[in-house]
């Protein structure tokens, strides 16, 4: 569906903020021959009278592309799209060029010069809008049960909530009877045995519900499909794989606790950890006497200590209730807040349960029958008497089940061992409803109550999706599209996708084209920029649109001017903040906004140089620390690096392209980056425009389109801290040299292709054209002829003659 584009340009004066700095009548004049349907200058297009005027123009002239030359799209776009929706203009049909913050407020040049810059930016926006292809959102079905994987306790809470709302679910659980769950509870939730009575009722409801199917836990072979239609392959004991289908997936994974290190304490049976103590409680074996719970192990962190303190308190209460002869006491470090309520403290007094804090700076000392510790109240050492000494268990890694699931779902292990769902932070309207639910204590230390709440919340999320599906409103937003004809099924996109948006395929199914689960897709675009075959497209924001935008801008830029790519978070925000703060910088840098630097296709960089840009600066978020798309900026780093290598192979200066990192609230840093980049460029001549350099730039551009180069770039991620490298590369220098080898070879091949354009040549002829020794070229020519990239046209004077194309 391609409609003819009718562009309406609305220029904003912004009460003088723009019109005093940019000569807007001249902007209109310079844009006179561009293909627009409407062009007007307005005092404030964003206020009610302005929006009304825009609506009238849209209706009168049938505009279907709107370009507002005004201020920040981050802040204002929502208002325009909301106001224009009633006249049939969709969100993606509105483009905003930030004349205020990228031109008017930050440069000291004359209004006429700024008008030229404004026109270049607007012409770029128009070129991008012209290539916009409208699309139809796809409605998704929602059939089948909810699949609750992972075997965590929160899964039962989710199943109960779903059953109460009439939705079927299948729980894959290790324990097949309520009693088993209760018996093993302390391995995952120490200190929560006090809730067993309630939990037993709860579990009985789940296990007897006709809507809940409790299925024995089996190893997961694969998870494929997307929201509304998932397929999970389970490996059966007889090694066959059965497939279960479901509409939604809830992952419930708990963390298991391990035995504490009590060897250094000694004391035989009189000293134990919480897990042992609870095992005794299950057996009903409660010894009378003084029980001291010593919350130690600061190495597990304060959260773990707090959890242990609560567990100790709950177990104390349980023991006192069972056997009044037990005298428990909890000794906890003073640097944690005891997470007990006032009512708990009253109960502690009523049951004579001691709560004592110790100064964490001085490690308490265990004696036979006594524990001495320093009280933070009086700095004196005190002693408590014990018959049984209990220390907390060690929080272990997420349940073993996790590893199977991590392979298939966008759930990652953080440094602390904590599992997290891909934590991508976006504007809420950029992402559809949450559709993959992850609950349980492996996502963070928490107790039983909290985990049950998490399960309930996840179930509500699933019910919300079902509700939408029933109303026919479960619409997949279609962010990314994979061209089935171009896709070779290499799976690189699935590997690098941080959000799980590119679906997996069954193991062993060979190279099949990938599908996109648009419900999980975040539109980060690293996949599209990486795809070796350029089969992945970000709709409304394709690389071709960006290419057109840059070509249109370049046509109006001067030879000493530079392009600046800013990511939508750190780069763009800091650039705009510079305008708010009134910091100025030279006007020779033209900012282009991309979602994430990771979505910047390498061929865009080479294309810009081919079109004669003097230099390129890229501003993104600080890697790892604040990249909103996990590794977007790290992927981009390698593309910039490859560009630098290719520039130096072509005999041009590497410093024509530079990348920098900046945070949202650091406008001064952004300005320093821009100034430094422009200063560097000032010392360089404009890009030579002679035929030889142009041929080399053409070859660079062709190199960036080569699947082999793109594959290497896609698998490369800047890993400053990593010690391991893929394949046969052993260190950073090795990895880099492999990259150089590939680039050298492909660059030379591309130059050969360029030399053979419109003519046939023999090897010495090619060598002369490329100014390279014949011996370097001859083997390459044989290879290229073998691959069918060039063909042998005949022999002449003992030399083969080559031409483009196949025989």
């Amino acid at each position: 569906m391609k409609t003819e584009s009718k562009i309406g340009i609305f220029l904003c004066e912004c009460g003088g903020k723009i019109s005093n700095r940019i000569d807007l009548p001249q902007v209109s004049e310079l844009l006179r021959y561009e293909p627009w349907e409407h062009l007007g200058t307005y005092p404030y297009p964003c206020l009610a009278p302005g929006l009304e005027a825009m609506r009238q123009e849209v209706q009168a002239k049938g505009l279907n592309r709107i370009l507002v030359g005004g201020c920040s799209s981050r802040v204002m776009k929502k208002k325009f799209t909301k106001a224009l929706a009633p006249v049939g203009v969709e969100k993606h049909q509105v483009e905003m060029i930030n004349l205020k913050d990228h031109v008017a407020a930050v440069h000291e040049a004359t209004p006429q010069e700024l008008a030229r810059k404004a026109v270049a930016l607007i012409a770029g926006g128009m070129a991008s809008l012209r290539l916009l292809e409208p699309y139809e959102p796809v409605s998704l079905p929602f059939e089948g049960p909810a699949l609750i994987l992972g075997g965590g306790v929160s899964g039962f809470a989710a199943a109960r909530e779903l059953a109460r709302h009439g939705l079927e679910s299948a729980v894959f659980s290790k324990a097949l009877a309520p009693e088993r769950v209760l018996e093993e509870l302390h391995w995952t939730f120490p200190g929560c045995r006090i809730f067993c009575a309630d939990l037993a009722d709860f579990l009985r409801e789940v296990f007897t519900s006709p809507l809940v199917k409790i299925v024995p836990d089996q190893p997961i072979e694969y998870i494929i499909g997307g929201v509304g239609d998932y397929h999970v392959g389970l490996r059966q004991p007889d090694n066959t794989v059965t497939e279960v289908n479901g509409a939604a997936i809830i992952v419930a994974l708990d963390r298991e606790f391990g035995p504490a290190d009590i060897d250094y304490i000694g004391g035989g049976e009189r000293v134990c950890d919480l897990l042992d103590l609870e095992a005794q409680l299950v057996a009903g074996d409660i010894k009378p006497g003084k029980v001291v719970f010593w919350v130690n192990s600061p190495e597990h962190g304060q959260a773990a200590q707090q959890l242990a303190a609560v567990a100790a308190w709950r177990d104390s209460l349980l023991m006192v209730r069972e056997n009044p002869q037990v005298k428990p006491m909890v000794v906890y470090p003073a640097n944690i807040t005891l997470p007990l309520s006032g009512a708990d403290l009253v109960e502690a007094r009523a049951h004579d349960i001691g709560l004592m804090s110790y100064a964490p700076e001085v490690h308490p000392v265990v004696q036979s029958g006594y524990l001495s510790f320093v009280s933070p109240g009086d700095n004196l050492e005190h002693e408590v008497e014990w018959d049984t000494l209990v220390v907390p268990g060690a929080p272990g890694d997420p349940a073993a089940k996790a590893q199977e699931l991590l392979r298939w779902l966008p759930i990652y292990q953080e440094n602390g061992g904590r599992l997290q769902k891909s934590h991508i932070k976006f504007w809420p309207d950029q992402v559809p409803d949450e559709s993959l639910f992850f609950t349980g204590s492996s996502g963070g230390l928490c107790d039983l109550n909290e985990v049950l709440q998490q399960g309930k919340k996840a179930a509500r999320g699933v019910l919300h999706i079902r509700e939408k599906a029933l109303q026919g409103k479960l619409v997949s937003p279609v962010v990314v599209h994979v061209d089935k004809d171009l896709c070779q099924g290499c799976g690189l996109c699935t590997e690098i996708c941080p959000c799980g948006g590119i679906e997996h395929v069954k193991p062993g199914s060979g190279p099949v084209p990938r599908e996109v689960d648009s419900h999980l897709c975040s539109g980060g675009g690293t996949c599209a920029a990486t795809c070796p075959y350029e089969a992945v497209k970000i709709l409304n924001n394709t690389a071709q649109q960006l290419e057109a935008r840059i070509k249109a801008m370049m046509a109006r830029m001067q030879e000493n001017e530079s392009l600046g790519f800013v990511c939508g978070w750190g780069g763009l925000a800091s650039a705009e903040q510079a305008a708010v703060k009134g910091v100025t910088y030279p006007s020779g840098i033209y900012l282009v906004h991309v979602n994430c630097l990771g979505s910047l296709d390498p061929f865009i960089l080479s294309m810009a140089f081919l079109n004669g840009v003097k230099g390129i600066m890229l501003a993104g978020c600080t890697p790892k620390h604040s990249c909103h798309y996990h590794y977007g900026v790290d992927h981009c780093w390698y593309r910039v690096n490859a560009m630098k290598k290719l520039l130096s192979l072509a005999g041009l200066e590497r410093r024509r392209i530079s990348i920098g990192y900046v945070e949202v609230n650091e406008p001064e840093s952004f300005v320093r980056m821009a100034e430094s980049h422009l200063e560097t460029l000032d010392k360089l001549p404009p890009l030579p425009q002679d035929d030889k350099t142009r041929a080399k730039l053409w070859a660079i551009h062709a190199t960036m389109h080569r699947p082999r180069v793109r594959w290497v770039l896609g698998t490369s991620l800047r890993r400053p801290a990593e010690k391991e490298f893929p394949g046969s590369q052993f260190n950073a220098v090795d990895a880099d040299e492999t990259m150089i080898e590939v680039l050298k070879e492909e660059f030379l091949a591309a130059r050969v292709l360029k030399a053979l354009t419109d003519q046939t040549l023999n090897p010495p002829g090619i060598a002369r054209a490329l100014e390279e020794p014949v011996k370097n070229i001859a083997p390459l020519l044989t290879d290229m002829a073998h691959e069918g990239r060039i063909s042998l046209k005949g022999w002449e004077g003992g030399y083969p003659v080559y031409a483009l194309g196949k025989k």
């Binding site: 404030y44 206020l47 009610a48 302005g50 802040v75 978070w569 705009e576 708010v580």
Partner: protein
């Protein structure tokens, strides 16, 4: 169409538009601080006061929220408006002496800090709530809110804890009229 006058000039507008919107559309400047085009008007700073005469009586109202009505006569720069506005600038200056934009206004209105000036204030926030409204209306999350009440009222993250709802988009920084958000941002944004 509703017809009325601003400073004697006959202007037209539609139901629901405000005086400020119509005035700006016709190039008549009214100073504002807490008004931002992307969010609904809120009327916090009162700087946009104008005098409205509906034939019966004349009142000073805030133009950013006052819906236009047929036949009213609006004066944006009468002596009465100038007096009220000067007092508002005085109060704003005493509340947030550190804000560059308010200092500029004070200069324009020839106002100097009074004896009620807040002492020892490094901070320029005058609690217009623009950041909070932008967070809610533009971004669509609630990572910012007002905390405490009365003289202790402040802009903060909910429960005084850096919110995980925050996406670090910097919208609050961008819209802040006083620049106070720059100092506040590290304390309220997502970790």
């Amino acid at each position: 169409m509703i017809t009325f006058t601003i400073n004697g000039q006959e202007v037209q507008g539609q139901d629901g538009w405000t005086i400020l919107e119509v005035a700006r559309w016709h190039g008549i400047d009214i100073p504002t601080l807490c008004h931002y085009e992307a969010v609904e008007p809120y009327g916090a700073c009162r700087l946009c006061v104008v005098e409205v005469d509906d034939g019966k009586r004349s009142r000073v109202v805030i133009s950013c929220m006052y819906p236009i009505r047929s036949g009213i006569q609006v004066k944006t720069d009468s002596p009465r408006v100038a007096n009220v506005r000067r007092w508002i600038v005085q109060l704003l200056l005493d509340e947030s002496p550190g804000a560059p934009k308010i200092q500029e206004l004070a200069k324009a209105f020839r106002v100097t800090p009074s004896r009620f000036k807040k002492e020892g204030v490094e901070f320029a926030c005058h609690l217009c709530g623009l950041c909070i409204r932008a967070c809610q209306e533009v971004v669509g999350v609630q990572a910012l809110t007002f905390g405490n009440r009365g003289v202790l009222k402040e802009v903060t993250a909910p429960y005084h804890q850096r919110s995980t709802d925050c996406i670090r988009c910097g919208t609050c920084l961008y819209v802040c009229p006083t620049g106070a958000m720059e100092q506040l941002f590290p304390q309220v944004s997502a970790p």
